[in-house]
């Protein structure tokens, strides 16, 4: 009798390990993606009636650019955007919510936005954090990114496309990575950056892995198009 109980407890503990490193992420990942898809579909339905803003065409290269739409400041624990990263799969869609608290954002399988960093498209740094393991592990594949990979932020207004630039490994207190110019807090902001942070090594809290990107373009939803960055294929 006692033996059977102990054996059962042993199996339950081993199953926890399997859940923590594998099964749980599969379950969380699927629900999280489905949630994001639903929100994206909602935005597509309620497409803004306002006409598309005037693009600026470069006479030399014939490329059309739009001024990025301003995003209102976000609230703690409230999803307001969706992140898509083709390198992590064409079905990779995860919600971004305000704040980086575990109970209100990260442990709800979302990507968290450091509230004291900029909003997408703004001059300065748009800082994000997410789990590298557990709770759907949105940033599990951060080290797989290659230079130039699109990092697409979808909001109700449209798509903000950033391009991945480089990775860095830092101590957990390296707050400078979130500075307007990453790692250079004394430099005046001029460019638009994105910074992704997560734990490193996997299952550890001793260091942080940091991915940087630079702003590429904005595509308003009112144009009725989707950004080429999502479909162009990877190098």
């Amino acid at each position: 009798m006692l033996g059977e109980i102990l054996l059962t407890l042993g199996v339950v503990v081993l199953l926890y390990v399997a859940w923590q490193i594998w099964i749980g992420d599969v379950i969380y990942g699927q629900t999280s993606r489905a949630e994001a898809q639903e929100l994206s579909a909602q935005w597509a339905q309620s497409a803004p009636v306002a006409p598309a803003p005037e693009p600026t065409a470069d006479p030399e290269t014939q490329t059309v650019t739009y001024e990025p739409a301003a995003v209102p400041r976000d609230e703690d624990g409230v999803p307001w955007a969706i992140m898509r990263v083709p390198r992590w799969g064409s079905d990779y869609e995860i919600k971004i919510a305000g704040g980086v608290s575990k109970p209100r954002t990260l442990d709800r399988t979302w990507i968290g936005h450091y509230l004291d960093t900029e909003m997408p498209g703004e001059v300065g740094n748009f800082g994000l954090a997410a789990h590298r393991t557990t709770f759907g592990a949105p940033f599990a594949r951060l080290p797989e990114l290659r230079v130039g990979d699109p990092l697409v932020i979808e909001t109700e207004a449209g798509w903000y496309v950033y391009r991945f630039r480089n990775l860095e490994y830092v101590r957990p207190d390296a707050y400078d990575v979130l500075a307007d110019v990453p790692q250079a807090p004394e430099v005046a902001p001029g460019e638009r950056y994105i910074t992704l942070t997560s734990c490193s090594p996997k299952f550890s809290m001793t260091e942080r892995i940091v991915g940087y990107g630079v702003f590429d373009s904005f595509l308003p939803r009112a144009t009725g198009e989707t950004p080429a960055a999502l479909t162009e294929g990877l190098i």
């Binding site: 009798m1 059977e4 109980i5 339950v12 199953l15 926890y16 859940w19 923590q20 099964i23 749980g24 379950i27 980086v100 575990k102 109970p103 990260l106 442990d107 968290g112 450091y114 954090a129 997410a130 789990h131 590298r132 393991t133 557990t134 709770f135 940033f139 830092v170 957990p172 207190d173 390296a174 707050y175 990575v177 979130l178 942070t197 997560s198 734990c199 299952f203 809290m205 942080r208 940091v210």
Partner: protein
Amino acid sequence: MYAALWRILPGPWFVKLLIVLALVAAALYGLFMYVYPWIATTFVPDGGTIQ
């Protein structure tokens, strides 16, 4: 414990087996969807943030 459970279950052996499989599935569902997430949010530290 498990021998007693097997005896209590009604029907021939294959019916018992079906019931046992259903019970196991229910237990796994409860663990994966409720118990383990609760443990992970309550006891396991895992910070991906810079502070």
